[in-house]
């Protein structure tokens, strides 16, 4: 036989000798498949599309596909005045609309060099913490429902309805509030609202302990969540994860304490940190955060000072409506601010707050006009979703739902 045939034959024989001699052949039922957890899915918390490559039941890799709710916020911001954009910020993290209002208005005030009066700052803290409570109540309901405990959803919504009643009293709207204004808030908080908040806080612990007791000692819940979706601290830092996901991986970073804004330096609260880095740790962190928020709310209610709720900067802060209708100066200012904007000085800033999902930041560039030249929203859910494939790798397909529930993404802000 010619050498050109012997050579390869010997090569093959040698290779076969080196191999394990048990016979292996291509499995006709190929085990790897790509599963599409499509944008419409009961447990993906909105329109998140996850493409999961599976080997049997084990996840080899997962790729989130975003953009199904991309509404073009940043382009809209370039075409609206700073005040006009406030209602748009409600719809970012739509589970805690007041917190987004507060974040945006703080960023604009930093750019324009205005500071809101103390009473407005305390009321903003109350709004932000109520928003965090409301968001975490939906979170506990949906995470428990995804894992199997459907009742907790209804209990969570029962408590959330009480918070929405408070928002109704405070802002006039149940849900998308648009309550904060540049330089203060829209209107003062009344005694009736303060009494309603106190009443809610007094009875909240019974509702919360109901939800909590059904879950924390539950063998099924712990079995589904413990050890699932591990995120190491190094990975969390590398991906820029913030919020409860970071604090559940052992890194105690909370913007309310590390880079305080509003009146948080005057309030006393703890930041819960757990080391396990798994789904159960994220659950515990958020549960503790609910309790800390109640603490902060009680302190803010006690320390609420008297005073105005609008800063006094007539060229930038919208005047009060009753003065607009009766005085010439205020009418002119109202007209100019609404039609031409507040015209902050040329420059750029980045300001972030600790939202319920993590660091919600706004990067604003101003060219001196009434419209921002560039507004970039740093959304925590976007960044947390980037770390999700790391959490899912090596897990089972049924863990995907528990992990998504614990990361708690909101597609309104992830997709902007």
């Amino acid at each position: 036989m010619p050498s050109s045939v012997i050579e390869p034959k010997q090569k093959i024989l040698r290779a076969l000798e080196d191999q394990d001699t048990t016979v292996t052949f291509e499995d006709p039922l190929e085990n790897e498949m790509v599963l599409n957890m499509g944008p419409q899915h009961p447990a993906t918390h909105g329109v998140l599309r996850l493409l999961v490559r599976l080997d049997g039941e084990t996840i080899v890799s997962a790729v989130p596909d975003l953009g199904y709710l991309h509404r073009g916020y940043e382009k809209i911001a370039e075409n609206s005045t700073y005040h006009e954009f406030i209602p748009h910020t409600d719809r970012l993290d739509y589970l805690s609309p007041l917190a987004n209002n507060v974040a945006y208005v703080l960023a604009v005030e930093k750019l324009a060099g205005i500071e809101a009066p103390p009473r407005a700052q305390y009321i903003r803290v109350i709004c932000a913490e109520l928003a965090r409570l409301a968001s975490h109540l939906v979170w506990i309901g949906t995470m428990a429902m995804d894992v199997g405990a459907v009742t907790v959803l209804l209990w969570g919504f029962r408590e959330r309805e009480k918070i929405q009643d408070i928002w109704d009293l405070l802002t006039g709207v149940r849900f998308t509030t648009s309550f904060t204004r540049i330089g203060g808030i829209a209107q003062d908080i009344s005694d009736e609202t303060l009494a309603a908040i106190r009443g809610f806080l007094d009875q909240f612990h019974t509702g919360l302990s109901e939800c909590q007791n059904i879950l924390i000692k539950n063998k099924i819940f712990i079995g589904r969540c413990e050890g699932v979706g591990y995120l190491s601290p190094a990975d969390a830092l590398a991906y820029g994860v913030t919020g409860p996901c970071l604090r559940a991986s052992g890194i105690g970073h909370d913007l309310r304490r590390d880079e305080p804004y509003l009146v948080y330096p005057d309030l006393d609260f703890d930041v819960p940190v757990y080391d396990d880095g798994d789904t159960l740790a994220r659950f515990y962190v958020r549960l503790q955060e609910i309790k800390e928020s109640v603490k902060i709310l009680r302190q803010a209610l006690e320390k609420l000072p008297h005073g105005p709720v609008h800063a006094s900067d007539p060229k930038k802060v919208l005047p009060r409506k009753e003065r607009t209708y009766s005085r010439m100066e205020e009418l002119i200012h109202d007209f100019m601010i609404v039609n031409f904007g507040i015209n902050p000085p040329v420059g750029e800033i980045y300001h972030a707050i600790e939202g319920s999902k993590g660091e919600l930041g706004f990067y604003l560039v101003s060219h001196g006009e009434g419209y921002p030249w560039r507004l970039k929203i740093r959304s925590p859910s976007f960044v947390n979703l980037q770390a999700m494939p790391v959490m899912l790798k090596g897990g089972m397909i049924s863990d995907v739902v528990a992990v998504i529930g614990s990361v708690d993404p909101v597609m309104g802000e992830a997709d902007k």
Partner: protein
């Protein structure tokens, strides 16, 4: 470290590639040449006096000016020192390429994809540069100033009724 110390250290290491270090409203901004961004990123992350171990955001901005039209902005945070920094890189329209920093901070991966999706700036060395939000077939870059707010009719397909 203070902005002056930062400026001294950066100019010592990178020389004229650092164009300016400014402070506005308590925030430090470093403007650098785009060729050194990968090394600058690694230095900022690893140097013990800086330790900017968390990349919070990467975004682009279209200044619509002749010369270097775009900017890519990196917002950094240092957890040990609790300080922030902004690094900006100017990109001209004729050469829309910027080296990637996704090997320094893994979080830059998606943020750079989003910047590419919105502005069309290519990130050299990026492992997976494709569109983030809009469908792959979309041909325009929405956040550029010459793209209209209402979009271009027919650019995104709709299912038939």
């Amino acid at each position: 470290m203070t902005p002056d110390e930062l400026r001294a250290q950066l100019t010592e290491k990178f020389g004229t590639l650092i164009e300016s270090v400014t402070v506005y409203r308590g925030e430090t901004t470093v403007v650098a040449a785009k060729t050194c961004i990968a090394d600058l990123a690694r230095f900022l992350r690893d140097d013990p006096a800086c330790q900017f171990n968390s990349l919070r955001d990467v975004c682009g901005a279209d200044y619509y000016r002749p010369g270097e039209r775009y900017e890519v902005v990196y917002n950094l945070y240092s957890l040990p020192h609790k300080t922030r920094l902004r690094v900006k890189v100017r990109v001209g329209e004729d050469d829309l390429h910027v080296p990637t920093v996704s090997h320094v901070w893994a979080g830059a991966n998606w943020a750079e994809r989003e910047t590419y999706d919105m502005f069309g700036i290519q990130f050299d060395g990026h492992p997976d540069l494709r569109r983030m939000y809009l469908p792959e077939e979309f041909e325009h870059y929405p956040l550029r100033k010459d793209f209209p707010l209402m979009g271009i009719p027919g650019s995104l397909p709709l299912p038939r009724k």
